[in-house]
């Protein structure tokens, strides 16, 4: 018995040592939270009911939850009742057992935290579903997941009957990563001044400015007005084109125990070839994105440079005449008469080939610089409304 206890302590200690909280989490005092739950998908668009277990995650510690939906004695397929029970550190009580024994579907979900950092959790997940009180799992899975803060991952879905009185045709099992803020800092409101700064090849600067605010730990979204780059005219009857670059994302700040601020910046860049004036036909954007963790002083302006596109292109019929030819060619392709078109060379910024204008983004944006500058300050509690300047 004593040996078992020592082994258990050693295993637990090794788990904690192997999975320390990240520096950001220690600095900000936040705690990772994992929610395991089931929720109904209603047929009429209304918000469904849910049941789940939400727990602060400890590094290396295994936790189990039972969730059940529907009752065996109800008409076939009704999913009107649901309940969740946490069995971590205890046995199921009588109420839990009665519910599980009578349930139409029972899920057992076991999670073990592997890596915990601000904004990300990696967990080992093991789950099984038992139908109609069977002791044999109908379906079971093991997986390792990495979830961003606020991200939900669906694990399983069961269908009921559409005629059920509770309008619940389906129940979905899912896990969600959340974060519990440090109580002393949870009500702090942060103000984010964000600039998008573009320098072209000649050094000319163009800027956009947004002001956001929100409770610390929230992630207000930003979406800068687009920046436009003209596309040169290569033939007389060419349409007017431009490339629109849009920068969007979220910014999440947290005050640290020593008065600094931890910043999580999620940014997306998309480039889209557009006709002027805009037409109903819009070309899909070429996009890329990333996430960066920063720590700085309150009021400190930090510039984050965005990479220029390394590849990618967009193309469109170059003119009205070319558009007609493209349509004729498309109808010829449908009749299997036209040969396939070759790929245009990728080293020219803009070219016209086979009646199509192509913008290759790597050479098109070469020599240009695009940055986001972020500056975080504490704000008054009454100024949580985001604003755009």
């Amino acid at each position: 018995m004593r040996i078992h206890r020592r082994i258990g302590t050693a295993v637990l200690a090794s788990g904690i040592l192997a999975c320390p909280l990240s520096a950001e989490m220690q600095d900000t005092g936040v705690q990772p939270v994992l929610q395991v739950g089931i929720r109904t998908l209603n047929a009429d668009g209304s918000r469904g009911r849910d049941a789940g277990i939400t727990r602060v995650v400890k590094p290396g510690v295994k936790a189990s939850s039972y969730l059940h939906a529907g009752r065996i004695e109800d008409p076939d397929g009704q999913l009107c009742s649901m309940r969740a029970a946490d069995t971590t550190g205890r046995e199921l009580n009588a109420l839990d057992r009665r519910g599980l024994d009578a349930a139409l579907y029972v899920w057992k979900v076991t999670t073990t935290s592997v890596v915990l950092e601000a904004g990300r959790q990696t967990i080992d997940l093991e789950w099984a579903r038992f139908d109609r009180a069977s002791t044999t799992a109908t379906v079971s899975r093991k997986s390792r997941l990495t979830l961003a803060d606020g991200q939900t991952h669906a694990l399983d879905l069961v269908h009921g009957t559409a005629a059920a009185p509770c309008l619940t045709p389906a129940v979905i099992l899912e896990v969600t990563a959340l974060t519990q803020e440090a109580p002393a800092l949870a009500d702090a409101v942060l103000r984010y001044d964000m600039w998008l700064v573009h320098h072209d090849r000649s050094g000319r600067r163009e800027t956009r400015h947004l002001v956001l605010s929100g409770l610390q730990g929230r992630a207000p979204a930003f979406d800068f007005p687009p920046m436009f780059a003209p596309v040169p005219r290569l033939q007389d009857d060419q349409y007017d084109f431009r490339v629109a670059t849009r920068i969007s994302g979220t910014v999440r700040g947290r005050l640290t125990q020593d008065g600094q601020v931890s910043i999580e910046l999620e940014t997306h860049r998309s480039n889209r070839l557009e006709r002027i004036p805009a037409t109903a036909l819009t070309l899909p954007p070429r996009s890329a994105g990333g996430r960066k963790m920063l720590t700085g002083a309150l009021g400190e302006a930090i510039e984050i440079q965005l990479p220029q596109p390394a590849s990618g292109s967009s193309s469109s019929p170059a003119s009205e005449r070319d558009l007609r030819e493209v349509r004729e060619r498309a109808s010829a392709v449908n009749r299997l008469e036209a040969p396939p078109r070759g790929m245009p060379p990728a080293d020219e910024p803009v070219l016209i080939q086979n009646g199509r204008l192509t913008v290759n983004y790597a050479p098109f944006f070469e020599g240009e610089r695009l940055s986001v500058i972020v500056q975080v300050e504490k704000a008054d509690a009454g100024s949580e409304q985001p604003a755009i300047r």
């Binding site: 400015h209 700085g296 510039e303 300047r389």
Partner: protein, 122 residues
């Protein structure tokens, strides 16, 4: 004669605001045009009358001189009002970080690294 037209032209001669559409209609009216000529003649005649008023009546035009102390107080009040208005008025030339479009000078520069923390989205 359309009195609305003549009133509009009278207002025009007196330098008052007039509805342009009404003015256009009035100028189309021959009677109103004749009235306009009369208004101008009357005004010229009034301007030409430079006869001095009798001395007793002429004194009525002059305001009594204000006491010197009152004048200084009024001047000080005007200056104070101008100062307060200047404080409250927007000052776009001042570098207020909250409202400036120009970005601040960054203290450091970070970079998204392609393949490390920056990935293609499509």
């Amino acid at each position: 004669m359309n009195t609305i037209h003549t009133e509009a032209l009278s207002a025009l001669v007196d330098g008052e605001p007039v509805d342009p559409a009404l003015l256009a209609a009035a100028l189309e009216d021959p009677d109103a045009r004749a009235a306009l000529v009369d208004f101008v003649r009357f005004r010229d005649a009034a301007r030409a009358d430079t006869t001095a008023l009798p001395a007793g009546l002429d004194r009525l035009r002059q305001r009594p001189p204000l006491p010197r102390a009152f004048r200084w107080t009024a001047a000080a009040a005007v200056l104070a009002l101008m100062f307060v208005a200047g404080m409250l008025a927007p000052q776009p030339w001042r570098q207020d970080p909250a409202s400036s479009e120009a970005p601040p000078q960054p203290t450091r520069i970070e970079r998204f690294e392609p393949g490390v923390d920056w990935h293609p989205g499509d």
